[in-house]
């Protein structure tokens, strides 16, 4: 595989970017004005760190947080309590001064805030959208009340004053403060960019786009969401801890809900999931009121209007605007595959050799209130066979699939896979065991490319640790390349290789159905559930699909095929189970089932059965 070579202009752009990144380091050496460097630029940098933190939750996970000011406060107050001195706070109600050095205080502040983020993460597992938004508001207000009232710890409304900043045996006051803040901003940006490029970033995207499809690809929602919240909180805590030294004074009023909203505004102005957007958005929010003094009183009104305009006319913010007009600046190299790649990694499917029956349903019953959707169903899928599951609309086919994959938990009965009882396992655990599925109503990740969709399916096969991903180690890049080739091979398997770099939402219907299969196969399953894979396809396409399914079977993978198309079912199934009103009414070889009067009755009605 090769990535596109840099052209001359792109190289110039790269060099200019590098110089621009290094520029702030030199500022303390040649700029006298403390106002513009320490106060304004320092503020932009610190607040941008907070915006990055918010971006992790809003941009990547897709949850709205209006409580990040609370997390920012936890970081700031931890730093204040640990690092401040009795001398600087004469006459305050604070009862203890630990007077720790800067760096240990910073580390503890980050860890403590991370813990608060962990707590905030739990509601996000249960709910989202407006419900979660109010939870984050409540969380922020609880923290706000606490710092206001705990006078012994925080000096209440009168706030904490900090001593001049000394770290590493060196004085970082005035403009030299930039030397402390800026490296942290770069580090946080570097982490975020590495994370977003990796399988972690794709997992976040997958959860945001479709919880269910992500879980079915073996991604644990609990683990990834909590990690995102903890990481976001750690970064917010870092920003807060640095903020303590910006004005050398903190008081509760700074950390109100308005500040959370301001950070959100900055994020939206700039554009989510963009390093450039994070900085430019916050820079605007800090600089605009400073530039126009008349503007100060009306700034919230103007920001409100700007927010509305951005939301409706620039949904991707200023970064989106830039990307549209200067695509060269933001172009990411797209993987191009060469014939030699194919020989590098052999495409193979895993066989189910361990002798256990891939799937056994034992008297499974699924009730929704009084409705029995699946009634005492017994079903056995043998290795290396295609087992058809058919029945009229509403007969319980899809419910059966959802019970097997763990979206629903059966009311009574046993679900066994590969000799283990899986009835109580989470969907992602079942996926990791080797049960893959496709969705009747397409659940592709539309904003990701076709190749990346398959890479989400490969998720459980990634071995890199979280920290090596954050650090951007070479081993991570190497693994990513291998997986890209593997994903490409899977695309070849379903005949989509020419569309690898296309966004999934641009695919035609039949192509989307193929991509669903490629993504499910990426899990290297031992059992695959195909939920109406041929719905809406033409006869020609169905024939191609039959070939793909037969290839899967010949690799030794058990297939449970849910279908309406009689022809397809009869042609490729080894065994068929027919459901009607949640009950099994027939089972056996295709020819036997076809002749079964019960089946004819279910499909054509009693009258039709007489005429047939």
């Amino acid at each position: 595989m090769k990535t596109a070579q840099l052209t001359g202009t792109q190289r110039t752009i790269k060099i200019l970017q590098l110089l621009l990144i290094l520029l702030p380091f030199t500022l303390p050496l040649w700029v006298e004005s403390q106002y513009y460097v320490q106060s304004i630029l320092g503020r932009i940098f610190i607040y941008t760190i907070l915006v990055v933190s918010l971006d992790l939750v809003v941009g990547y996970i897709g949850d709205i947080s209006i409580g990040h000011a609370g997390l920012f406060a936890v970081g700031a107050y931890t730093m204040g309590i640990l690092n401040s001195t009795a001398a600087a706070n004469a006459g305050s109600t604070m009862t203890m001064f630990l007077e720790w050095p800067f760096l240990p205080s910073l580390i503890v502040a980050v860890i403590v805030t991370g813990f608060f983020g962990f707590l905030l993460g739990f509601p996000s597992l249960r709910t989202s959208g407006p419900y979660l938004a109010v939870t984050t508001i409540a969380y922020g207000l609880i923290i706000y009340t606490f710092i206001n009232e705990q006078e012994g710890l925080t000096n209440g409304t009168k706030g904490i004053t900090m001593a001049p900043l000394n770290a590493f045996g060196y004085n970082f006051n005035d403009n030299k403060f930039i030397w402390i803040v800026y490296p942290f901003l770069l580090l946080v940006m570097y982490f975020k960019s590495n994370l977003s490029k990796s399988f972690w970033g794709r997992a976040f995207e997958a959860i945001k786009f479709s919880n269910i499809a992500a879980e079915s690809s073996g991604i644990s929602k609990v683990r990834y969401k909590l990690t995102a919240f903890v990481m976001s909180a750690c970064i917010a805590g870092l920003a807060g801890a640095l903020f303590t030294h910006l004005d050398r004074y903190i008081a509760p009023n700074t950390f109100s809900m308005d500040f959370s909203i301001l950070a959100l505004m900055a994020l939206i102005f700039g554009g989510v999931r963009s390093t450039f957007g994070n900085i430019i958005g916050m820079a605007l929010v800090v600089i605009l009121p400073d530039l126009f003094t008349w503007f100060k009183d009306y700034r919230l009104m103007v920001f409100g209007l700007l927010l509305l305009l951005t939301l409706f006319f620039l949904p991707n913010g200023l970064a989106g605007l830039m990307r549209k007009h200067f695509p060269k600046l933001f172009e990411k190299p797209k993987p191009i595959f060469t014939p030699s790649d194919r020989s590098q990694i052999e495409f193979k499917m895993e066989e189910c050799k361990d002798g256990h029956t891939p799937l056994v349903l034992d008297d499974v019953e699924m009730r929704f209130g009084g409705l029995v959707a699946v009634n005492k169903l017994n079903l056995k899928v043998h290795p290396g066979t295609i087992h058809g599951l058919m029945g009229p609309n509403g007969s319980g086919k899809s419910t059966t699939v959802n019970v097997i994959t763990g979206l629903y938990n059966q009311t009574t009965g046993q679900v066994n896979a590969f000799g283990k009882s899986i009835g109580k396992m989470k969907p992602h655990e079942r996926a990791q065991m080797g049960i893959a599925r496709t969705f009747q109503n397409l659940q592709l990740f539309g904003d990701l490319t076709v190749l990346e969709n398959v890479q989400v399916g490969l998720h459980k096969h990634y071995k890199s640790s979280f920290f090596s991903v954050l650090m951007g180690l070479p081993s991570v890049a190497k693994e990513e390349k291998e997986k890209q080739i593997e994903a490409y091979r899977l695309l070849e398997f379903v005949g989509l290789e020419s569309l690898a770099n296309e966004q999934a939402k641009n695919l035609a219907y039949g192509q989307s159905r193929r991509l669903e299969i490629a993504r499910a196969m990426a899990l290297k399953p031992k059992l695959i559930l195909l939920d109406e894979p041929a719905a809406g396809l033409t006869t020609l396409e169905i024939n191609e699909f039959n070939q793909i399914i037969l290839k899967i079977k010949s690799a030794g993978i058990a297939v449970l095929l849910i279908e309406h198309h009689m022809d397809m079912m009869m042609k490729i199934s080894d065994e068929i189970t027919v459901l009607d009103f949640g009950k099994k009414i027939a089972e056996g070889r295709p020819s036997d089932v076809q002749a079964n009067p019960e089946v004819v009755k279910a499909y054509l009605g009693a009258e039709g059965a007489i005429n047939a």
Binding site: P123, S128, E149, L300, M301, G304, F312, Q440
Partner: protein, 298 residues
């Protein structure tokens, strides 16, 4: 004992206000499946409009207009604000699939309203007089302001009236049809967008009336609506956004917990139990105490 009873009654009356505003949240949620995060600011708009029309700002005394004038003024302002929120924030947002567009858009409108009132009117706190005077009525040992009795009566009347309207009249049925299924309602000839606009106007009028009612008990200021709006929203969530009488129960829980905490723990912490309770409800019953369970379909 009387003290506890007094606290419970004061809390319950405070809770009625929350319940009334929460009822406004539920009304628009049912039709549009969105939350109007600017409703708290519309409560404030109601309080401020009522003050301007009823009190002479220089002297702080009654301006002489009968109470019906501020009442009608507040209703009109509320209906207008509701229509504006719907047209400028909610309707354009629904074109985008993501939830955060409408959350942020309604928040933005709220910020604009608040900052607008601060700049065009005042940033100060003002004392609103009750049309029923300051007399305290005594029932046994328990004292209640006449205004508080008015709050209970008006709140219950509004809640019952709107519920009757929804259940008994053809226009109310149109609202319910849109709540059930927008597409089908629209196919049956119900002007879906118009119904949603109406629900926003009703919801905002109710919130504005709540602002007028609560004004004599608190102060009138540009910031009076922010916390009130959040608390009422918590009440909505606790009771269940799709529940009819859930907000009443949620309101009572929050209101009573506040007065009890303020008396026995500390006034500074009075809002804590409500917010902690909210988080607990979200964790264990994400659809609220009286919400319907939603089965996700794949």
């Amino acid at each position: 004992m009387t003290e506890v009873l007094q606290l419970i009654i004061s809390g319950a009356i405070q809770g009625m206000i929350y319940a009334l505003i929460a009822f406004g949240y539920n009304l628009t949620f049912s039709t549009s499946k969105t939350i109007n995060f600017s409703l708290g600011q519309i409560v404030m708009l109601g309080g401020v409009t009522g003050y301007i029309l009823y009190i002479d700002m220089q002297s702080g005394q009654l301006s002489g207009l009968p109470f019906i004038v501020p009442l009608i003024g507040v209703l009109i302002i509320g209906a207008l604000a509701g229509a504006v929120v719907h047209k400028t924030a909610v309707e354009p947002s629904l074109k985008f699939k993501s939830e955060y567009t409408w959350i942020l858009a309604t928040l933005a409108v709220g910020i604009i309203i608040k900052n607008g009132v601060e700049q065009l009117w005042s940033t100060g706190d003002f004392r609103m007089l009750s049309p029923l005077g300051d007399n305290v009525l005594r029932f046994g040992g328990v004292g209640v302001y006449a205004q508080e009795i008015l709050i209970v009566i008006v709140s219950l009347a509004i809640v019952c009236g709107v519920e009757m309207f929804k259940r008994r009249t053809i226009y109310g049925k149109a609202i319910q049809a849109v709540s059930e299924d927008k597409a089908t309602a629209s196919l049956m000839g119900i002007p879906e967008k118009f119904v949603i606009t109406i629900s926003f106007m009703m919801s905002a009028s109710i919130a504005a009336i709540a602002g007028l009612l609560v004004a004599p008990l608190t102060f009138v200021s540009a910031s009076m609506g922010t916390v009130l709006g959040i608390k009422a929203y918590s009440v909505s969530i606790i009771g269940g956004l799709e529940s009819g009488f859930g907000p009443l129960v949620g309101g009572l829980i929050l209101g009573i917990s506040e007065t009890l905490t303020a008396r026995y723990i500390s006034t500074g912490y009075k809002e804590m139990p409500g917010f902690i309770f909210l988080i607990i409800v979200i964790l264990f019953k994400p659809n609220g105490l009286f919400g319907k369970k939603i089965i996700k379909k794949v």
